[in-house]
Subunit: 463 residues, 2 copies
């Protein structure tokens, strides 16, 4: 949470609140043309950092670079923190070392680590060298944790108190510590002399409890035991499940070393959601600032795999050249079987991938879901076998052809439903992210079934 | 946030924390066979409500119904709140009126409204009748707001203080109010005598400020002006953007009427993410408890539309029957163009839908993205035109055929990239959710281009 001092320019509170004001963008571009550094400084000071960063992210990369160039050392730390990863990396790239060094002590350790993450190693070493020893050690430790772990994500700033402290003592201590406290925290962690976490006291609980009560007698259990090595996705799941506002992060010896707050978790949740959504379409990553080259690199690999699977499907079709030569209607109709069957399978796949991500498919629930998906394939298969058969009959006036395509639709739908749930479940068992590799497997399976069943049956009954 | 009293059975804190213990499930099923109500009560009391609800959600619907039957009035309110929507609706359906009436006063008003939402009207009226007048009025007001608005989502319990109160006065007041305070809150809202919100004081700020300081002199501006009528998705966006822990909700006259906390927003974010993901695959809704019939209803409509678009594509193919009859290789190869082109388009589509959901595609950013997607289509089109052309040449040894399919791939990729961004942008402009209708439009467009360009070119150069 960023808190704002009073009395700055209020952004619009209308329907469009939270969106970038086009007038602001225009003014920004005019100021850039006139190289009006004073205007930039004044404007950015008056804006919420989240609004300022959103406006900057709408600039072209040239204009964005010019803003960094003009502000230099004066580029506000809180805006740097708010920028999306790729813009922040670009900004840090352009800022002089001293500017980066100056920013780091002003921000929380997780944000500082995120900034240094993107800096190439030599430069990172130079910047770390210039920091105060304590600051430097904290950041070096943070960067030692693997990316996407709780250790990397946590902030070192948290509030802990021994169990024998009273509520009154704790509040007095907080008041005396003043600005040295973290700007935002939701719980006070109660620790033993070895810094093991015994429990937590939420701030509302602290507020409503009489001064003389000991923390030990009101503290509540820590629901989620988050370790520095824990995957951030796992931590996000625990935050969601237990509706946590914050959680302590402990090292291997069980000592508290940091804290994660829910607003960081919201970002993780969105990141994981984006990853799953894109992975299902075979996109590796996507950022607003991506160049064409980045987009090509993110998408070509899956298209490359798809090239092979598509030719594999062609290979199956080529087995049936005799019947295709004899009945051109088969060539006209076969994409219908492949398209509908592929879609029925994709529906089952997407539902399954989502249920796995939300941990709804474990044990008995998975068995029930397999049954449901296969039966849904059967039911929709019957409906669309009739539908496709009817249209085919009306178009070509051929009962045999209509029955053939209906049977192929039914077979492909049942197979699609079954494969749509089994493929992601099997990938998950094998320790592979089911979102990443499922689509390509599934569509190969449904295409194969569509062409085999339709053209195979046609060979049997028509030739 | 639910707080747990001390000393209850600690759930496992291992790698599997947060997951349902198979041993617990087995014990649960044994207890159900023996109709051991005492064991059920004892076990549920010892579990975190989120763990208990997860275990219940793994039971078959028969077993779940039996648990409700055995516990009846004693079914714990906090577990009811934690259950997923469809399980909660089922539980409320089965519980006697008095049990539901007894639960409502124990829980927050937003959770109570969520429970009554699913109850049919007659019964809802009966249950409301049995509540205390104040309770009843609060709930009736909450249910008056449209679903998926901030008004429906907010809780009526919040903490407000007049601006002339000092920090000390506020803390003393909280202590005297004690248990009547909301269990979880993050900010104290500073209001004028007309209950207009002037600002907020976060609890950490309250704690670190000397007792004699007035709230008015430390309060910070409210970043997000959330009204009761605001769409929950809009509210969730503001929470994310400004990293809010809580926000006041105001009525049309600007008076504070409730509060939304970040944990509710995390649920909304997940809901919206699920909707987008499923919509892209043409699934209307998905729940673990869905019956086959529910699944069919959720998926058949899109397959029905797909039936027409697939036959539309067939119609295009049928225009080229002469060339297909003459060259069966075209029938073998045409799915390659459609599959690769469709995937290239879907990649652009998914990236765009996600960027729209995260509000990254506004103004100049949209124009840059259109250019990027079209150029990415061109770049990948060139790569895969060569790849597909080469494979085709190796397979069929026909240069003309290889050049034809290469040209068709290039045309379909460029078109797919352009359509992949224009379709969702156009739908958004038209006020339609771009996730819902985009896929079917896009695949029709890419299929049309694939078959037209490949078979059309083949007619020109081969016949």
């Amino acid at each position: 949470m960023t808190e704002r001092p009073d009395g700055h320019d209020t952004p619009d509170k209308s329907e469009d609140q939270g969106r970038v004001d086009p007038a602001l963008l225009e003014a920004l571009e005019t100021a850039l043309e006139g190289r009006d550094t004073a205007w930039l400084k004044r404007t950015f000071e008056g804006l919420h950092p989240a609004d300022a960063s959103d406006a900057l992210e709408q600039l072209s990369s040239d204009d964005f670079g010019q803003v960094i160039g003009l502000l230099g050392d004066d580029f506000p730390a809180d805006i740097l923190v708010e920028l999306r990863d790729e813009y922040r990396a670009a900004a840090v790239e352009m800022l002089p070392d001293e500017a980066v060094t100056a920013v780091l002590p002003d921000i929380e350790s997780d944000d500082a680590a995120a900034i240094l993450e993107d800096v190439e190693e030599d430069r990172r070493a130079r910047i770390l060298e210039d920091l105060a020893p304590l600051e430097r050690a904290t950041l070096e430790q943070a960067l030692d944790f693997d990316e996407e772990t709780a250790g990397r994500l946590m902030q070192r700033e948290f509030v802990a108190a021994p169990e024998f402290w009273t509520v009154g003592h704790t509040i007095d201590h907080a008041r005396n510590t003043g600005d040295a406290l973290p700007e935002q925290f939701f719980d006070i962690y109660v620790v033993d002399p070895g810094f093991k976490v015994l429990g937590a006291v939420s701030l509302p609980l602290l507020l409503r409890t009489p001064r003389e009560v000991k923390l030990a007698s009101i503290m509540t259990e820590i629901e989620a035991q988050i370790t520095t090595q824990m995957d951030q996705e796992e931590a996000a799941f625990l935050f969601q499940k237990y509706s946590l506002a914050s959680a302590p992060v402990v090292d291997e010896a069980g000592r508290i070393t940091g804290m994660i707050t829910v607003d960081d978790m919201v970002d993780v949740i969105q990141e994981e959601n984006t990853e799953d959504l894109l992975a299902l379409s075979g996109v590796r990553s996507a950022d607003g600032s991506d160049t064409v080259w980045d987009s090509v690199k993110a998408r070509a690999p899956w298209l490359g795999i798809n090239l092979f699977t598509a030719f594999f499907a062609s290979g199956i079709i080529s087995l049936f050249e005799p019947v295709l030569s004899a009945y051109v209607a088969l060539a006209v109709l076969m994409p219908v079987v492949a398209a509908l069957g592929g879609n029925a399978g994709s529906q089952a796949l997407t539902v399954t991938v989502r249920a796995i991500a939300e941990r709804e498919l474990e044990g008995a629930a998975a068995r029930r879901a397999i049954r449901r998906e296969t039966l849904t394939g059967l039911a929709n298969g019957l409906i669309f076998a009739c539908g496709v058969g009817a249209v085919t009959f009306l178009w070509f006036g051929n009962v045999t052809l209509a029955l053939t395509i209906g049977a192929a639709i039914l077979a492909t739908f049942i197979w699609g439903g079954f494969a749509g749930i089994m493929v992601p479940l099997a990938l998950q068992r094998a320790g592979v992210d089911p979102a990443v590799a499922s689509s390509v497997f599934l569509l190969t399976l449904t295409d194969t079934m569509a062409f085999l069943s339709f053209l195979g049956l046609a060979t049997l009954v028509l030739l």
